[in-house]
Amino acid sequence: MMKEGVIITKINIKRQGERKHFQIKLPNDTKHIIGIEYGGRLVSKADTKAVEAIPKAAVQSEVVTTEATYPMAEYVEVKERGKTFFKRNQLVGELKLQSSEESNWFYAADVLLNDSNIGLGDFSQSGFPVNDFTHGNKRTEEIVKVDAESTIVQGWYLDAIGKTQKTDINYEVTIYVWINVEE
């Protein structure tokens, strides 16, 4: 009977632009790798001189009223300043995984911070701020199908957020490798 399991690997990044090679050891009875997902945690930020590179949405409208002499009517001009732009998601780093069985990466992903545009389109102004932890989607693993007979997965991670912000940020990236195990 096949059973699912997950192997959790944490990698710690401390310096800007840090590149890390790592290995994920799978149990001997692993048959396939069936899914990959990732998470992360900020440990500490060494320096705060860098400014968060998240653009803020600005919507401003101005109503100008001018009075005409004849006929008695109001002329209302509405000027709109600025637009609501999509915000760029903050790239944290790049993650790639390779099986020892086959050449080339079987998984490559941009590790991103929260969805910066999750609140876009919410015009309710209801006082219930839109955040990932209240309005976020359900997370599921990304499905892959890779043989795992050699039980070793090679991994590679490159920091991007520290490089962008020109500061050393200490954070952890957690990689979840979902596997099929024969019982």
Binding site: I8, G39, L42, K45, N131, F133, T134, G136, K138, Y176
Partner: protein, 127 residues
């Protein structure tokens, strides 16, 4: 006759960077556990700081350090799709153990909070 039921179990986190473990017992007439979901009264703390291990009938379904954010669903998710699908697990002795670990994240300030574990179950109707 079988009918769907939801169960909720709560634990309190009162200290930062602590581990809280608790075991709960399911009703005897529960025959399957279909899904799992975690929520909190302070969602941000659970989302950024929480990891947990979940065992049902001494079988580990989510190992230590499995992040809570991966088992959360926001209000944008349809109510019927919010639970993480376990695929109909037999509850065995009916004991559900959660070992929750709070870990400082750097983006949040700790306050005592509640973690709720929801289980989507199927039970035999007693009638």
């Amino acid at each position: 006759m079988l009918k769907a039921t939801k169960k909720r179990f709560d634990i309190k986190i009162t200290q930062a960077n602590s581990t809280v473990s608790d075991t709960f017992e399911l009703d005897k007439n529960i025959v399957k556990v279909h899904g799992v979901l975690v929520t909190s009264d302070k969602d941000d703390l659970l989302y950024y700081r929480g990891t947990q291990k979940i065992e049902i009938n001494k079988e580990e379904f989510f190992p230590e350090n499995y992040e809570s954010k991966l088992l959360m669903s926001g209000i944008n998710v349809a109510p019927k799709q919010r639970y993480y699908d376990l695929g109909g697990v037999a509850p065995g002795n009916g004991r559900v153990q959660i070992t929750y670990k709070d870990l400082d994240d750097g983006r949040t300030r700790f306050e005592p909070y509640r973690v709720s574990l929801y289980l989507d179950c199927e039970m035999e109707d007693e009638l």
